[in-house]
Each structure stands twice: as structure tokens, then as C-alpha cells.
């Protein structure tokens, strides 16, 4: 009651005289001052809120009462929820410019006032921590508005509130689903584009809480909350390396895999379980899964050490794309996120693809035979997902998926050896080449009316083949030897049967030869197809707009030319083969046609191919450079140069990006045709061709201007421009010199090795003889020693004998003396000796 009477008095004014709204508002604003009673203030706020709802009065309320409202927010809101709710609501009315165009200028003004200092934001965050529903939701809404329109400032204030992160985190724990929903909406705004807040919250346990929500709400199958929670996790991780490091250390990467039903602890040789491969998908789950796939991609792409977990995550992505019933868009995303330098062992990975049972609306699935992931990948590129049985051939998503698969293929087959090996596998074994799926698609001939699926297959086969031979001379010369079996491989409309990618028995049986022609080499077949395409393309009169059918013929023609030009570049042998197949005359007519009667792009590419033929026609043959030079002069050098350069003007060429070459149908938009199905897309070139063209068109331009006797200017497909060529020439010659020097050195070294080996042999002999000598000498020495010992012993014996004799003689002398005989004493010794000698 009090409120009504107060308001009434305020509006009526003391005297009862009619009062202008402005007076009322100023009066009410005065009442917001701290001197009045709390109940008065509350009443004034309610009145102001009512007035602010009127778009005409809103600006007055804002201009005169905003400061007062902020004071109340600062002083009363926390203690009195009944004041808090209307004051926040009034501020919200003043700031949120969405419902009223006139607020577009006022809203920001009031927001700036609110954000003059950090008080209001701090108070609002504290209010948002309250348990009761209404204050929290209205506060979160206002904070959301501020974050939306004044992001940086609000986020900065959030950071200066010490309890801010704790409050934000506590919000996520709320058991009420509605409240969680509100909080997540606030979170999405709060953490956007602010690494500090992201880190702060992540390191205080945001991941735990968010995954908790995701899991309690039922993972990717859940309704709306899981999606916002996943979005939050994604925001916390993307562009934030600190959080990624932290995340990788936790158990959450494994949780991400489990969300897709992929066992995180799967062993490398273990097959992926069926619940992962076959799931029920709806639109919401698709969105959630795409978010999860995006985050797994983030973990896989890191340059940090490749742990087992990273491998498993990469494998999960590959299997999701190649062997599951996941939505096409999710598959394309999974493949496109496999990093280029991640060499997953595709050829050894055995996977089991699935294909929908026809007419079951995707509810029943047939398991196909297991094969290597590489084969399934090639199959996917050539024949589209599920062999094109579900989606029309040129819907955007399947094309994107094939493009992503092509990128994975190119990243995987990245060495010359591998390229050559794959080309070698197509070489004839007995007479004609085995028809691998790739070759089959490549040599399919097309007749009017065109089958879009078939020409798309041929186009992708050409892209693969171009990747195999581009800049790989050995693969090019091997490709020249490919001789597909004779007989026409036509694109039959029912030709969409599943062709297993491994060529073991699954390859389509070559159709019975219609005539007994000798099989033709691949180059010749491609040239004939090109010529047929030129003939089959409906003639357009000047002024005719191209129809769908002519556009498709243009696509085929361009496809063949692109493949050929990459094949012939810098490879005189291939040029010779092409010229002998009659390729030259093909090019002349389209170039000479009036611009309006043909696709300008075809003319330009024909000119590029002609330039290539001329430049690299270095092998002796029937058609010499002089022959081509005559044609070039007749067509006009300037015209050809212009045409070669004009490729880059074409929208279909210009719009290609490194990661995406699938374009909207039709490109350019003002083309005179309409898409047949919704979301139809088309592809003309891939990035690799764009790259190839950019690095070589200048060489081709200069080539057509050069005389027939000029020497080759380009030395490699990478060389562009004269300076570069000279440089590489010089480099080449210096390298050659180095090589010859080294060869010489090697020879010398080898010789010296041989010499030293020989000398060491003689030394060995010497040593042996010396040893023998030593042995014999030792023997002699021992013998001598023995002899010496013998002598010594003999001598000793003799001495003993002598001693005996002398003692005997002394005895005899004694006896003689006794007997009276004369004996000389002195001579004793001498006599001894004498006697000795005598004896």
C-alpha cells in the first residue's frame, strides 16, 4: 500500500497540479539518496522501473536517476533482495539496447557510466552468487549484457575481484538445471577472448566442473546444457597453450574419447568396438560431437611429444571418419583435424567400414570386410561416403569429406618412394595393367548425358594421380608405362557398386573387349578422353549462356588439362608421349575460339599446356619445337601470354584456400545455372594445383615468347623466373662438381685402401717368417743351453775326479816319504797340475 501511495503522491505532486514525467523522475531520483528510508528508496526504484519500461521516458530515467540507482546498488542491494531485484532490472532496462532501436546510442552511454569504476560490476558478481533464483538470473542477465557490449572492461573488473573466480565456479555446482543453464550462458561470455580469465578458471577447477555437468547431463546425447558446457571447455582450450598443457596432464582427454564411446585405453591392435562405430545420431548430438572432435583435434595437433594418448586420439579421429556412421560433417571435421605431420600408420591400421542397408533409412547397417585404413581412405576419396548411396553426389558435406580425405592421403603419401611405389603397382604385369580402383576411375570415359557421380570420381582420381606424379620424375616415367587393358570403361549409371579399395579380387572385371585393339597407354587414353570431351561439349553460339551440361563438360576438360600439365611439366619424355598421342592439335582449336563461345578458363589452361609442351619438347621426335613455334606465332605470343596469366583472374581459381577447395555451386554466383539440390557444391582445382600454377606460370609465359632454339629455362617444377633458374643451374653445376670431386676422392681412397691392404699382407708374411726365425733361434738357444749344462756337469765330474786323484797323490807322496823316497814339498801343487795334465 505504502508503495502505491508514495508513487501516487510523487506523480501527483504536492499540490495536485499535473506534473511532467521529468519532474516525477527527478523527484524519484532524489529519493534514492541515502538519507531517506530504505522502504522509500525501494518504492522509488519500483516507480523508476515502471517508468523505464516506457521507451519515451527511458532516457530521462537514465539521465537523472542512473547515479542514484548505482548508489542503491552499492549500498542496499546486498542486504535487501527486494531492492536488489528492481534496481538490477532497471539498470538492465537502461543498458540492454536490443529491444529498442532508440537505445542503440543510450545503452552504451549508460553502460559506460556503470563501468566508470569496478564497484558496480563487483557488486553484481557478488549478487550473482546468491542462491535465490530471481536475483541471480536478473544479475546474470545484466552482467551478460555488459559482457556482450563492453567485454574488455567488464572482464578486467572481474579480474580485480578476488572472489570472482570462486563465485563463477560455484555457479556451476548449482543442482538446479535452470540455474546451470543461466550460469553457462554467463560463462560463455565471461571467458571469451580473455586468456587470463580462462587460465584462472581452468586452474581453479573449471574443467572438473564443466565435465561434471556434461556427464550428469548425459554426455553428447544431452540437451542444451552439455553443448554450452562443451563450448566453454573449447573456449578455455582454444588459443590458450597454458590451459592445453594443463588439460593434457589431466584425465579429461580420455574423457573426451569416452564421450564419443571410444575406449581411451584401447590397444593398438584391438579393433574399435561396435558401439563406437554405430550410434544413433541426431542434430544436437552432431553438434556436441563436432565440439568434442574439435577438442580432440586440438590435442592431436599439439607439437608436444606424441604420447600413446595422442596416438589413440588420432586413431579415434581416423576411425570416426572412415569406419563409423557418424554424420558426414563430423567425419569431415575429424579428417581435417588430423595434422599433416602426424604419420598415422594408415596402411597397417585394419578397420571395419559399415554401409547402410538400402531402404532402412540409415537404421540398419552392414558390416563390410575389414581392410586397411589406407584402402578405405582411397575408396572414400574416389567413390564418396558409403559409395555415394546416401547423399547426392555433390552435396557440400560429402564433397568436404572427400576433400579432407584427399588432404590426409596427400599428407600420408609424401615421399617420392611412396608415390613411385603406388604408380608402380599400376604397371602391366602380363600385357596390361591391373585395374586398380584409382586407375578405373581415371580412365572412365564419359558420354552425354553426364553422370555427375562418375565425373566427380574421375576428378578425384585425377587429383590423387596428379599428387602422385607432380614433381616426381621417377613416378612420371613409371606412369608412362601404365597400359590399362583395352576396352572401354564407361561410366554406367548403375556403376556405383561398391568397389573394395584393395585390388585383391574386388576390382571390377574389365569389360569384355569390344574390339581387339591393342591396349593403349594411359597417356594416350587421357588424351583421347580430352579430345572426346572437347567434341562432346555442346557447341555454344556466341551469346549463349552455359548450361549445367556444358559446365560439367568444362569441368571434365579442365580436369584432364590440369592432370596433363602437371604430368608434362619438366618431363620431356612425357611431352613426347603426349605429342605423339596427338595432343597438340587438341589445344589449338579451343585457344583460337572466340572468348564468348567457350569457357575462358579452358582457353587459359590450354595455353598453359601448350606452353608446357613447347618448353619441355626436348626429345627428338616428329613434332619439333620449330613446329610448335610456328603454331604459337600464328596464335600470337602476346595473346598466349595474356591467356596463361589470366587463370588467376577466374573466381573458381581465386577462391581456393589451402584447407578448402570445395566451392559453392555455382561459382561464380552470377553464373547462369542454378543448383539442383540444396547445398550443392563443386570443386574445380585443389590447392596443390594452385600452388603448382603459381610457381610455374611465369616460366610458361616466358617459354612461349622464346625462340625454338633457346635452351630449357626451367630446371625443376619449383623453379620460377630466370634468376631462380640461373641460380639453380649454378647450384646444379657446383653440386655436380662436388659430386665428381667426391667420386674422384672416393676412387683415390679406395686405391689407397687396396694398397694398404696389399702392403699389410706382405707385412703379415714378413711377420710370419720372422716368427719362424724366432722359433728356430729359440730352439737353437735352448739346445746350446742344454749342451752347456752337460759340459758343466762333465767338468764338475772331472774336478771331483781331480780332487780324488790329488788326495790320492798326497797320500802316495806321504807313503813315498815314509818309504824314504825324495819328494819335493814345494812342487806339490805344480806336480798336481802336471799329473793332472798327464792324466
Amino acid at each position: 500500500m505504502e508503495f502505491f501511495s508514495q508513487t501516487y503522491i510523487a506523480i501527483r505532486g504536492p499540490t495536485g497540479a499535473p506534473q511532467s514525467p521529468l519532474e516525477t523522475i527527478t523527484k524519484l531520483a532524489d529519493r534514492l539518496g541515502p538519507s531517506t528510508l530504505l522502504s522509500d528508496r525501494r518504492a522509488s526504484i519500483l516507480a523508476l522501473k515502471g517508468l523505464a519500461k516506457d521507451p519515451k521516458l527511458r532516457s530521462d530515467v537514465g539521465d537523472y536517476a542512473l547515479r542514484g540507482l548505482l548508489d542503491v546498488l552499492e549500498n542496499d542491494a546486498e542486504v535487501d533482495p527486494d531492492t536488489a531485484i528492481p534496481v538490477v532490472e532497471t539498470l538492465d532496462l537502461l543498458c540492454d539496447p536490443e529491444d529498442d532501436p532508440s537505445m542503440k546510442t543510450l545503452g552504451p552511454k549508460y553502460m559506460d557510466t556503470i563501468l566508470e569504476n569496478d564497484k558496480a560490476v563487483h557488486k553484481l558478481i557478488v549478487l550473482a552468487s546468491q542462491q535465490s533464483f530471481t536475483p541471480r538470473t536478473v544479475t546474470l542477465h545484466l552482467l551478460g549484457v555488459l559482457l556482450k557490449h563492453r567485454k574488455a572492461k567488464t572482464q578486467q573488473y572481474f579480474l580485480t575481484l578476488p572472489t570472482g573466480p570462486a563465485i563463477a565456479l560455484a555457479m556451476l555446482d548449482d543442482p538446479r538445471e535452470m540455474m546451470r543453464n543461466e550460469s553457462l550462458g554467463f560463462w560463455e561470455l565471461l571467458i571469451a577472448k580473455n586468456q587470463d580469465i580462462q587460465k584462472l578458471l581452468a586452474f581453479q577447477g573449471a574443467f572438473e566442473k564443466l565435465f561434471n555437468i556434461i556427464e550428469t547431463e548425459g554426455g553428447v546425447e544431452s540437451r542444451v546444457n552439455a553443448e554450452s558446457a562443451l563450448t566453454c571447455v573449447d573456449t578455455l582450450l582454444r588459443f590458450n597453450s597454458a590451459n592445453q598443457n594443463y588439460f593434457r596432464e589431466s584425465t579429461f582427454p580420455a574423457t573426451l574419447l569416452s564421450l564419443l564411446q571410444y575406449p581411451p585405453d584401447i590397444l593398438p591392435q584391438e579393433p574399435a568396438p561396435q558401439p563406437f562405430a554405430l550410434q544413433f545420431w541426431d542434430e544436437l548430438k552432431e553438434r556436441n560431437a563436432a565440439l568434442v572432435v574439435g577438442m580432440i583435434g586440438l590435442l592431436v595437433s599439439s607439437k608436444a611429444s606424441k604420447t600413446q594418448a595422442t596416438w589413440t586420439a588420432a586413431r579415434c579421429l581416423a576411425e570416426l571418419a572412415l569406419a563409423s556412421n557418424a554424420p558426414t560433417r563430423v567425419k569431415a571435421k575429424a579428417l581435417s583435424l588430423l595434422p599433416g605431420d602426424f604419420d598415422l600408420p594408415l596402411t597397417q591400421m585394419i578397420i571395419t567400414p559399415y554401409i547402410p542397408v538400402p531402404d532402412t533409412n540409415g537404421e540398419e547397417w552392414d558390416r563390410l570386410e575389414s581392410s586397411s585404413a589406407f584402402d578405405v581412405l582411397v575408396e572414400l576419396i574416389l567413390h564418396a561416403e558409403y559409395n555415394g548411396t546416401i547423399a547426392p553426389a555433390r552435396r557440400r558435406d560429402p564433397l568436404d569429406l572427400r576433400a579432407a580425405a584427399l588432404r590426409v592421403f596427400c599428407n600420408f603419401v609424401n615421399t617420392d618412394e611412396m608415390k613411385e611405389m603406388i604408380v608402380q603397382s599400376m604397371l602391366p604385369q602380363d600385357g596390361s595393367s591391373p585395374v586398380t580402383p584409382l586407375l578405373h576411375c581415371l580412365i572412365t570415359s564419359h558420354n552425354a548425358p553426364l553422370d555427375i557421380a562418375a565425373i566427380t570420381s574421375t576428378q578425384f582420381a585425377s587429383l590423387i594421380f596428379a599428387h602422385l606424379i607432380r614433381g616426381a620424375p621417377r613416378a612420371k616415367s613409371a606412369a608412362l608405362k601404365i597400359v590399362p587393358p583395352s576396352g572401354d570403361v564407361t561410366a554406367s549409371s548403375e556403376g556405383n557398386f561398391f568397389v573394395p579399395a584393395d585390388n585383391s579380387g574386388g576390382a571390377p572385371p574389365p569389360p569384355p573387349p569390344e574390339d581387339e585393339d591393342d591396349p593403349l597407354p594411359l597417356m594416350q587414353i587421357l588424351t583421347e578422353h580430352l579430345s572426346l570431351a572437347f567434341i562432346s561439349r555442346p557447341r555454344m553460339q556466341v551469346g549463349d549462356a552455359p548450361t549445367r551440361e556444358t559446365r560439367e563438360w568444362d569441368r571434365i576438360i579442365i580436369n584432364y588439362i590440369c592432370l596433363l600439365v602437371q604430368w608434362l611439366w619438366d618431363d620431356p619424355k612425357s611431352v613426347r608421349a603426349y605429342l605423339e598421342a596427338g595432343g597438340l592439335t587438341l589445344l589449338v582449336e579451343p585457344i583460337g575460339q572466340p572468348m564468348e563461345a567457350s569457357d575462358g578458363l579452358i582457353q587459359s589452361l590450354c595455353a598453359f599446356l601448350l606452353g608446357t609442351c613447347y618448353e619441355f619438347n626436348r626429345e627428338p621426335g616428329e613434332i619439333t619445337r620449330a613446329t610448335i613455334h610456328q603454331i604459337i606465332t600464328r596464335l600470337g605470343v602476346d595473346m598466349l601470354t595474356d591467356k596463361i596469366g589470366s587463370v588467376k583472374e577466374d573466381v573458381r581459381f581465386r577462391e581456393i584456400e589451402p584447407e578448402a577447395f570445395v566451392l559453392e555451386y555455382p561459382t561464380p554466383k552470377e553464373a547462369s545455372v542454378d543448383a539442383e539440390i540444396e547445398g550443392e557444391a563443386e570443386a574445380w582445382f585443389d590447392w596443390a594445383f594452385l600452388d603448382f600454377w603459381k610457381s610455374n606460370y611465369y616460366t610458361a609465359q616466358r617459354a612461349v615468347a622464346a625462340g625454338p632454339n633457346s635452351s630449357a629455362t626451367a630446371t625443376s617444377s619449383g623453379g620460377s623466373g630466370q634468376g631462380n633458374d640461373q641460380e639453380s643451374q649454378m647450384l646444379l653445376s657446383s653440386l655436380r662438381e662436388v659430386i665428381s670431386n667426391q667420386a674422384h676422392e672416393i676412387q683415390t681412397l679406395q686405391k689407397s685402401v687396396k694398397d694398404s691392404a696389399a702392403s699389410s699382407k706382405t707385412k703379415g708374411d714378413e711377420i710370419a717368417s720372422l716368427k719362424a726365425q724366432v722359433e728356430s733361434l729359440t730352439k737353437q738357444v735352448t739346445e746350446g743351453e742344454e749342451k752347456r749344462k752337460e759340459r758343466e756337469k762333465e767338468q764338475e765330474d772331472l774336478l771331483v775326479l781331480l780332487d780324488e786323484l790329488s788326495s790320492k797323490r798326497r797320500g802316495d807322496k806321504e807313503r813315498m816319504r815314509v818309504a824314504g823316497l825324495e819328494v819335493s814339498e814345494d812342487e806339490d801343487e805344480d806336480e798336481d797340475e802336471d799329473e793332472d795334465e798327464d792324466e
Binding site: 580485480t160 578476488p162 587460465k199 584462472l200 581453479q204 597454458a242 598443457n245 596432464e249 600413446q308
Partner: protein
Amino acid sequence: MAGVTWHYVLKFIITGDAAVGKSSLLVRLTDQRFLANPDPTLGVEFGSKLITIPEEEKVVKLQCWDTAGTESFRSITRSYYRGAAGCLLVYDVCSRQSFSNARTWLKDVRQHADPHLTCILVGNKTDLCSDDAGPAKRNREVKTEEAELWAKQEGLLFVETSARSGENVELAFEQATRDILLKIRNGVFDDDRSPGQSAKTGCCS
């Protein structure tokens, strides 16, 4: 992550004044390289490293939270102390100021972190005041003895390091880890209030 086994996961915080080399210590530990001109850490950075304590035959995973030293992040930084088992309190041996401020940091740690946390005082940048520092040589402002004495008084471990040369960096972490393992063995962390060491398992997740 199969094949990576550890017996303990220990949370470490690295704290101290701005520009004393906290992030460089972490990068030296985890990447064995020197972070030459780092930007100031915003909020927090994170790194982890497996170390082996041979005499205990234990593999320990160190989860290091490298906090921001700048004042504006001070209030935020405190919230990271929760659950830490070890703390590297870093100062710059060539900056008296950073050493005096270490007292405040220690107070902070004592106030907000687990009471049983092991704290090691780390005097960083010893390379700058060594004789072969070249033209960048600066004067040492904190004597080893003085810091050692203070550490003793406060019951801290102490080491002097150089993130540039890598000298003693691993040692600092190892010493602290040994001390924590000792405390774990003595049951200091057994009460639930101390989440200092998590995952006491032979973890293969």
C-alpha cells in the same frame, strides 16, 4: 598414457617476485632449455616433469604451477596454493628487494597453503654474478650465508640456482621432493585436510 607410470603426483607452486626467473626455472626443468626473454606470466603457467628419486625407488610426477609475480595477479595467485605439496620460493640473488619480498611471499604461502607444505628457498640467477658473466655481470646483493641463515630460521630448504646454466635446478626440485616423500612416509599428509599429494597409485590412466 599407458607405459608412463608414477607413484606420486605432487603439486608444486613456484612463487616469488616478478622477473626473478620463475618461468625460466620451470622451462629449464621441463624442457632443458633456457627461456631467454620471456613475457611476464599472466596468471599462471603449467608444466610437468617425471623425476626419479633413486634411493626411494619412486617415480614422481611433478605438476608445477608457475604463478605470476606481478602485483596485479597477487590475489589470483593465492588461489593456486590450494593442494600444493611443495613450493619454490624464488628470489634473485642480484636483487635485494626480491629477497626482502620473499618474506611477504612466505607469509602468503603460510596463510593460504597447506601447513605441511615443503618450501624451498631458491636464489636464482647465480650466473649473473659469477666471474664469467661477461658484460651483463651484476653485483650480488644477497649473500649465500645470509639467505641460508634466514632459510634455517624459517625452516625452509635452501639452494642457489641458475636457470640459464641449469645449475642446481633439478636439485632444487629433487630436494623438495625428497622432503615431501619423507613427510608422506611419516604420515604427515594422511589426514584428509591435506590434499598435498594426489594419486598415490601406480597410475596408468
